[in-house]
Structure formats: C-alpha cells, structure tokens
C-alpha cells in the first residue's frame, strides 16, 4: 500500500504524538507521584493511604458499589436483552432505542433527575408522606442507595447493549432445542445462554464496573461528602487538600481495580462452560 514503511508510520505520527505527549506523559508523571518519597522509590503512599480507616471504608464502599452495580446490571440486563432479542422487528427497534436513549443525555442531567425523584420534596417522598407511611420526608438522597440507583441507571444501557449483541449471535432454535431435550428455563440460562453470551457479559461487566468506579458526577451529586467514593475522594485530595501523593495513589488503585475486574470476569468466563 505504501511505497515504504516510513510513509505508513508518518501517518500514525500525529496520533502517536498526541497520545504520548498529552496523555501518557502527564499520567506517568502523575502516577509516579504515587511511588515517590524523599528517599526515592517507595510504597509508603499506599501504606499511609490504607492506614486511614476513612480511606479503607471509602475503598471498600467503592468496591462494594462497583460489584453491586455490575451484578444488578447483569441480572436486569439479561432479562431485558432476552426480551429485546425476542421482540418482533419493529417493537425491538423501539425498545432498543429506549434503552440507548439515556446514553445521549448528559450524565449531569440524568443525575439531577434523581434529585427530583429522591429529594425531600421529590416524587417518592411526596408519595410516602401522602400515603401516611411517614410523618415527615425521609432521607433518600446522600445515601448509598441513592448512589447505587444513580450508577445503575447510568450504566445499565452499556450492559444491555453488550448482552443484546451477544444474544443475537446465539444460533436460532438452540434454545427451543434445549427445552425439548428437557431443560428448564433455569437450565437453559446456565447451560446455553450464559456460555454463549459470556464474552458479552465480560465486556458489559467491565464497562459497568469500571464506569461505576470512575464516575464522578453521580456519587458527587447523589452521595456528596456523606457517601464518599474513591473518585470523589480523589477530587477532594486534589482540590481541597492539595495532597497529590494520595490522589495519585487513588488513581493507581482505580486503574488496578479496573484491570483486576476484567481479569476476574475473563477467568470466570473461561472457567468451565
């Protein structure tokens, strides 16, 4: 195609320079903070970070919410994807469009919508007070539940899209064949659907888990400082306490968690069909 290799490389150069200078280098410098001390290379930053009970609880909460959001998205996602795949042509496009639509709306707007629903004078509290279930509005915002709901709603479409495309590749008649051979619907799911869609689950799971870990706006608005996550903590470290070492440590932990999640999911997927 090219007269020589150099011409081909020249075309890749702008992208390479752009990524290296503007992304990789700053990130490397930032992350190297996480390993620096007065005496040179050190893991002291990590030791200090995990020594703090607050940091430990923020880390565990982030992990817990990430797992819960990804797990719930998988369960709801499988049900939704199975339904979508089995809809007739036109209805299928409509429902799938409804699933994708939220992705075209800013996460800020979508998160503020939850305030309308969960706030002191929101829809849910109006209903609770109106029905006499409680004399005064109860606190729904700034709880883990609020953050969980916000993140789930934010990232569920990614899981559904991954699972729908995975399910579309299941050969026709394979599920009826399993039924006729005596498989209950539970058997059909675990012995046919799950093994044939595991790639989709790994992709969807990684996207949702990583998304939940690294989302800033949703935990910031729905959790505030009462429900700190690693991402909101990171922001505090940088903007409030100017503690760049801790910020770098958190950033490294987030990256490590994302890679770990992908590895764990892949391991589960290839374990045994």
């Amino acid at each position: 195609m090219f007269r020589n290799r150099r011409e081909g490389l020249a075309l890749a150069l702008p992208a390479a320079i752009f990524s290296t200078l503007l992304f990789l280098v700053p990130v490397a410098i930032l992350l190297s903070e996480a390993f620096r001390s007065d005496t040179g290379f050190s893991l002291q930053g990590y030791v200090d970070f995990f020594a703090s009970p607050l940091n430990r609880s923020v880390f565990l909460r982030t992990l817990k919410l990430g797992v819960l959001v990804a797990g719930s998205a998988a369960i709801i996602g499988y049900a939704a994807a199975f339904c979508i795949v089995n809809l007739p042509g036109k209805a299928r496009g409509t429902v799938f469009g409804m699933v994708v639509l939220p992705l075209m709306i800013s996460p800020v707007a979508r998160t503020y919508a939850w305030i309308v629903i969960l706030g002191r004078t929101g829809i849910v509290n109006d209903a609770i007070v109106g029905l006499g279930l409680s004399a005064s509005p109860i606190r729904l915002l700034f709880t883990e539940t609020a953050v969980f709901l916000g993140l789930l709603q934010l990232f569920l479409p990614l899981m559904i899209i991954s699972l729908v495309s995975a399910m579309e590749n299941i050969p026709r008649d394979v599920i009826p064949a399993a039924r006729v051979l005596g498989a209950s619907w539970l058997n059909v799911f675990f012995k046919v659907i799950l093994p044939l869609t595991k790639e989709g689950l790994v992709i969807g799971g990684t996207l949702v888990f990583t998304g939940a870990l690294t989302a800033y706006i949703t935990p910031a608005i729905l959790g505030g400082s009462k429900v700190l996550m690693l991402e909101t903590l990171l922001y505090q470290k940088v903007n409030v306490s100017n503690d760049f070492v801790s910020a770098s440590v958190i950033a490294m932990i987030l990256i490590a968690m994302s890679f770990a999640a992908n590895l764990v999911l892949k391991r589960i997927a290839t374990a045994r069909s």
Binding site: P176, R179, G182, A183
Partner: protein, 337 residues
C-alpha cells in the same frame, strides 16, 4: 381407534391474529412414520412445534400415549425434535451435545457415557466425540442432531425438513439411514417436508396439508395413484389438470372435446398418461427435453401448454413441429372440485 398414539383434536394454532392451523384432527399410530407434506406456509412446521410444546395451541388438545399434554411444558413432554437448522450447541463438543439431555436427567455418569457412545455409534459418528459442531460436515451435524434426540428414547421423534440442507447424494443416504433407525428403534416418527418424493419414499402415511388443513391423508401409494383434489394431484405430479364441461375439458385458454362423458368435475393426467404421436388433438411443440427413457414435450394446444412424455422409440419432434396427442380416459384421474 385403540392403537392411536398421538391424537390431535380440533387443534387450532395462531400467530397473533393469523390462524395458521384451524381445527386440525389427526391420529398417529405407534411406531408409524408419518410425513406432514405441503408447500411452505401450509402449517406443517407450526403443527410440529405445537406437538413439541414450543407453541401453545389457541384451542383443541394434544394427547400422546393416552395422556393430555396440551398444557405440558416442552421440557416435560419426552419428545425428540430434530430442527431443520440442527440447532446443535456450538459451545459443546459432539459428545456433550448428545449427552446434554441425559445430563439434565442426572443419570449416573457411566450410563450417560454408555448411552451417548451407543447413540453416536447408531448414527455412525463413533470417534467424533471431541469435535465441535463447527468442525463437522452438514451430514455429520444432521446425524449428531438425530443422535442427540434418539438417546433420550423419545415417545415421538419429530423431524423438521430433515433432508433439505443436504446435497443429493447425502439426502439418499440419510433417507435410508432414517428408515433404518426407525425400524431399529421402533420410534414413532413425524417428519415435515415440502418434497413429495421424500414423503413418498419414506413415510408409512402422508398427511398432505394446505393452508393449515388436511387436504388428503393416505399411504404413499394412495396419494400417488388416487389424489382426490386438484391440489393433491398437482403435488403428486399430475401436471395436466382441466375442468370438465359436458364431454369436453376446458380452462382459461379454451376447450377440447374428449369423445366421452366423464362423471367428475375435474380430470387430471400425468405427462406419462398423455398419448403422443396419435390422437384427435393437434398442438405445436414449444419445448422438448431428453430424459433418458422418454422425451418430455410441452405441446401448445387449445388448452394452452400440455405436458406429455413420449417413448424414446417414437420419432423425435422438433420445436415448432405439429404433434398429435390424446387425453385417454384410461389414464385420466377424476378429481372432486
């Protein structure tokens, strides 16, 4: 009937608002090989899916071996179904495909192994245990799907267009294979096909269907020699079908006097039944093809194109030649309107 094994009573099947099969009644005997024959969209596959439990009937009932299974889920019917697409599990090897149903029954491992190996041997696939379906030929996949159903020892084995995806040579091979398996296992088989040659060759009885209704039911010999309607006759190779009016036959093109007065509404002739080279009628040859023992002519006559087979011993007529022919009473098949 005391020996009825599968009984469909007033079975009505619908897709949304469309009625695919209206009030079907059919009795199938134990050990019988039944063909559901008809053009695509005649309801034959729909009927089969209903027997398997994959489609809930709008009304009517299905009895198998004396038991009402109308409301029974597909996984509890004890029926085998070989899909047209084979529907093998792509993530499992051949052995695990065949063992799939046995494993669900939580049988002892030794029994699963022996029955699976026996099943694969029955269809001539011993040694292919470790292959994935994608690594097997169409014929092998077909036999694997058959083995997967057979090892379950189904009460009834349903086959959807079992030979349609195979090439001509494999088709003949699988035809004998299916007959052999059926004789060996004695399983009641219902297969769906649009190919009348396949139905005639394989089935004990043929159910000819059109628009969800049974057009005619009978042995291959009955259907072949004595079709009762124009639809059945056309399906069985009567290519010349004409309305009767008094002592002549007619269609949209025109009419021809017969010289005798038939007492049926419609008459039909196979190309073999039309006499060529002599007779009261004249036509012009518009097509001629050599077919081994005979020549196949299309003769343009007062009735439009008439299809006729002439013995190879007769002198060959060229396209454009005038040819005399006769529609003899002896080879005419009377049909009801």
């Amino acid at each position: 009937m005391s020996d009825t094994f599968v009984q469909l009573t007033d079975l009505t099947l619908t897709y949304g608002k469309n009625i695919a099969v209206p009030a079907l009644n059919l009795s199938i005997r134990e050990g019988e090989l039944i063909a559901l024959l008809g053009p695509s969209g005649c309801g034959k596959t729909t009927t089969m899916r209903a027997i398997a439990g994959l489609l809930a009937p709008a009304s009517g009932s299905i009895h198998i071996d004396g038991r009402d299974v109308t409301r029974l889920a597909a996984n509890k019917r004890g029926i085998g179904l070989v899909f047209q697409s084979y529907a093998l599990f792509p993530h499992l090897n051949a052995f695990e495909n065949v063992a799939f149903g046995l494993r669900l029954q939580k049988l002892p491992e030794a029994e699963i192994k022996s029955r699976t190996e026996q099943g694969m041997a029955t269809v001539g696939l011993s040694g292919f245990e470790g292959r994935k379906p994608a690594e097997m030929s169409g014929g092998q996949q077909q036999r694997l799907a058959l083995a997967r159903s057979l090892v379950m020892r189904p009460k009834v084995l349903l086959l959807d267009e079992p030979l349609s995806n195979l090439d001509a040579r494999l088709r003949l091979e699988m035809r004998t294979e299916l007959q052999r398996v059926q004789k060996e296992t004695g399983v009641t088989m219902v297969f769906v096909t649009h190919d009348q040659a396949e139905a005639l060759a394989l089935a004990d009885r043929i159910v000819l269907m059109q628009q969800g209704k049974i057009e005619q039911l009978g042995t291959p010999a009955q259907l072949y020699a004595q079709p009762e309607t124009a639809f059945a006759a056309e399906f069985m190779g009567f290519e010349n079908i004409f309305k009767v009016a008094g002592d002549s036959v007619q269609n949209d093109h025109g009419s021809l006097p017969l010289g005798y007065r038939p007492d049926s509404a419609i008459l039909a002739w196979r190309p073999d039944g039309v006499r060529v080279g002599q007779g009261p009628h004249q036509g012009r040859v518009t097509a001629c093809s050599f077919a081994g023992g005979h020549r196949e002519y299309v003769i343009d006559s007062a009735l439009g194109p008439v299809k006729a087979n002439a013995d190879i011993a007769l002198p060959e007529a060229q396209i454009g030649d005038s040819l005399s022919f006769d529609l003899p009473q002896a080879t005419a098949r009377p049909l009801r309107a």
